[in-house]
């Protein structure tokens, strides 16, 4: 019984961490589907979102919900501007130019955050900090539960948006075929910038949900590397795949930390990533067969 409860707790913790990976991976996938770019700065945008929320809530004393909302909007606007000003220019250049460009941008964001908010870990008060839920003997941190619930809610909102609104369907159309979408009168460029805005907003949500579990600091963007594993496992082009991949990675990582000797936990996500690329490069949820990689 003791072991079963312990195991269940590990799974919940892993799922919570996995939701964060999944949310970052969701950002990769949205951008990749639309523009065939990979945004290596996604983790750093998450970091910026966390710091925006920190500035609004801890510095300006805003209510948690209001501050979080404004931080998400700010980050989304930032993502829009990023595409409109910089990334639109490199369309058509070799792909690794985009890789290096976003890596360079990541460095700049990290330095900006470090100069503005310092290099120490910071945190702010949330309604979930240090509280627990007791489910008949199973003690869960509210922070972890809030991550899972928040992710599920966000996914629901995104699903409704992409399948039931004009703009969401326009986004799907431009991802599938730019030229045809253009002929149908969809402003493809603006739509792409809006997709960047959404993925930046999702990253900000991840950063804010993560803040009660682990503090916000300049280097939290390196979580993005683990999110690659999630996206690849899910098939890099499938939105549910990214989330499922994230949760799988998170749980496997927790279990590896528990059952395997020290040191294996850090490499789990990378090993899963390489194994996926070698054994099943199209990922678990292949949308387009026989391409890529």
């Amino acid at each position: 019984m003791e072991d079963a409860a312990r195991l269940l707790q590990l799974v919940v913790n892993g799922a919570a961490a996995g939701c964060i990976y999944g949310l970052i991976a969701l950002g990769f996938v949205l951008i990749y589907k639309a523009t065939e770019m990979i945004n290596f700065a996604q983790g750093d945008i998450m970091m910026l979102g966390g710091f925006f929320a920190f500035a609004l809530i801890a510095h300006f004393g805003l209510n948690y919900w209001l501050g979080a909302l404004i931080a998400i909007m700010l980050t989304a606007a930032f993502g829009f501007a990023l595409d409109a000003v910089i990334l639109r220019r490199v369309i058509g250049q070799p792909q690794f130019a985009v890789v290096m460009l976003t890596l360079g941008l990541g460095f700049i964001f990290r330095a900006y955050a470090g100069i503005t908010w310092g290099y120490d870990s910071v945190g702010f008060n949330t309604p979930f900090t240090n509280r627990t839920i007791n489910l008949s003997g199973l003690v869960l941190g509210q922070d972890n539960v809030s991550i899972i619930v928040g992710t599920v809610l966000l996914c629901g909102v995104l699903y409704v948006f992409f399948s039931h609104t004009r703009l969401g369907i326009a986004m799907q159309a431009s991802s599938q075929n730019q030229l045809a979408a253009y002929y149908m009168g969809i402003p493809v460029r603006t739509v792409f910038s809006l997709i960047w805005a959404i993925s930046a907003g999702v990253a900000a949500v991840a950063g804010i949900l993560l803040s009660p579990v682990s503090m916000i600091d300049v280097n939290m963007g390196f979580l993005g590397i683990k999110a690659f594993a999630a996206a690849v496992l899910g098939g890099f082009g499938s939105i549910p795949g990214a989330l499922v991949g994230g949760v799988v990675i998170g749980i496997v990582e927790q279990l590896a930390g528990y059952f395997l000797p020290a040191g294996f936990q850090e490499v789990t996500s990378n090993v899963v990533l390489l194994a996926t690329l070698i054994l099943r490069p199209q990922g678990l949820f292949a949308e387009i067969a026989g391409k890529r990689v």
Binding site: E36, G104, I115, N270, I278, K291
Partner: protein, 358 residues
């Protein structure tokens, strides 16, 4: 201005385009050999670092600049080379054997990572090599029986024919020699069918394949030679830092190697040298002007990585040819003066090749 009058097909294959080249490179060699007698030990040490990064940059250039395969895991190759060399030296193997041995051993790792990644291209390759790099980095930290873990690994003093070369000057000459050999090797390699095949793969995999180039074989070779050269650089790097810490070989170092290639200029061996000079000397330059900057900008932590990022972004946006490309343009401006036309170097409009349909 010199006009090359070609009378023979073999002229296209020579290393020296004309005698002027031979003269200027010879002069450069003499100057480099004389530098330790002129400059202080600090500058000699820094230049040694530039040479080591240039060697690693050549490894990166053959892979990214000439074969079109991007790797974000070359720091792992550097680390493997560094640890192999130090461990061999600690077991009493002489440097003249341990240096090429560490290159060869790293080359094996290059094949090992090259084989499974053959099916990948572009973004997937970048992600896979990134994962490889961070796995190797973790192994360096955790396998303390071999690497010493976080306690570090002191690099034994190397001797060549009984002469100790742990000093800045010794490392300088050793790195210079390796750099010259590696550059000569690469320049020759690029003239062979092997090198031409690599360039063909970079320009179009499909057309290379239809010309009868075995993609898998040549891509694996590109990884192997890149790892071999980076391993040599790693062996030198061990003597440069004298004490190996496992966290030195992280993703940021890999990014520095790619920066060398991008800032210097993709697809040119000259570019490697410019890029290495840039990457190694920028931090020194910042350190020197730190106190002169207004508003305390120089005191801000994180100035250096942000400048790296900024330069990288600006180069990709405005000068994809890098420093070497800019130099070619400046040279052309003088040679053609006053007939330079804007269209001489206009960038061709290019369209993204979709990866969705292949």
């Amino acid at each position: 201005m010199r006009y090359l009058f070609k009378t023979d097909y073999r002229q296209d294959l020579t290393i020296w385009r004309h005698r002027g080249d031979l003269f200027w490179y010879g002069l450069l060699c003499i100057a480099l050999l004389a530098i330790p007698f002129v400059l202080g030990e600090f500058y000699v040490g820094e230049l040694g670092g530039v040479f080591i990064f240039a060697v690693a940059g050549v490894g990166m250039m053959l892979l990214a600049g000439y074969t079109g395969l991007i790797s974000l895991g070359n720091a792992a190759f550097l680390g493997i080379g560094a640890y192999t060399n130090s461990i061999l030296l600690a077991h009493g193997v002489p440097l003249l054997i341990s240096l090429p041995a560490s290159g060869l051993f790293t080359g094996l790792f290059g094949i090992a990572i090259g084989l499974p990644t053959l099916r990948m291209s572009g973004l997937y390759l970048a992600i896979a090599t990134l994962a490889f790099g961070s796995i190797v980095g973790t192994v360096f930290q955790k396998w303390d029986a071999v690497t010493g873990g976080f306690d570090g690994f002191p690099v034994p003093e190397p001797y060549i024919f009984g002469i100790p070369i742990q000093s800045a000057t010794g490392v300088y000459y050793l790195s210079l020699a390796v750099l010259v050999i590696v550059l000569w090797l690469s320049a020759n390699l690029l003239r062979t069918p092997l090198g031409r095949a690599m360039v063909a793969i970079r320009d179009s995999e499909i057309s290379a394949q239809s010309m009868g180039i075995h993609l898998a074989r040549y891509k694996t070779f590109a990884f192997a030679i890149s790892a071999f050269i980076t391993g040599l650089a790693g062996a030198l790097f061990a003597h440069y830092v004298r004490f190996l810490a496992p966290d030195a070989f992280d993703v940021l170092l890999s990014v520095q190697f790619v920066t060398i290639v991008f800032v210097g200029g993709l697809g040119s061996l000259h570019g490697v040298i410019y890029g290495a000079l840039f990457v190694r000397l920028l931090p020194q330059f910042i350190a020197i002007i730190r106190d002169e900057l207004p508003f305390g900008i120089g005191r801000m932590p994180g100035l250096e990585p942000s400048l790296f990022g900024l330069v990288l972004v600006l180069v990709i946006l405005f000068e994809p040819g890098g420093i070497y490309g800019r130099w070619i343009k400046i040279k052309h401006w003088f040679q053609a003066y006053p007939l330079k036309r804007r269209s001489s170097f206009r960038r061709q409009k290019s369209y993204a090749r979709s990866e969705r349909l292949r």
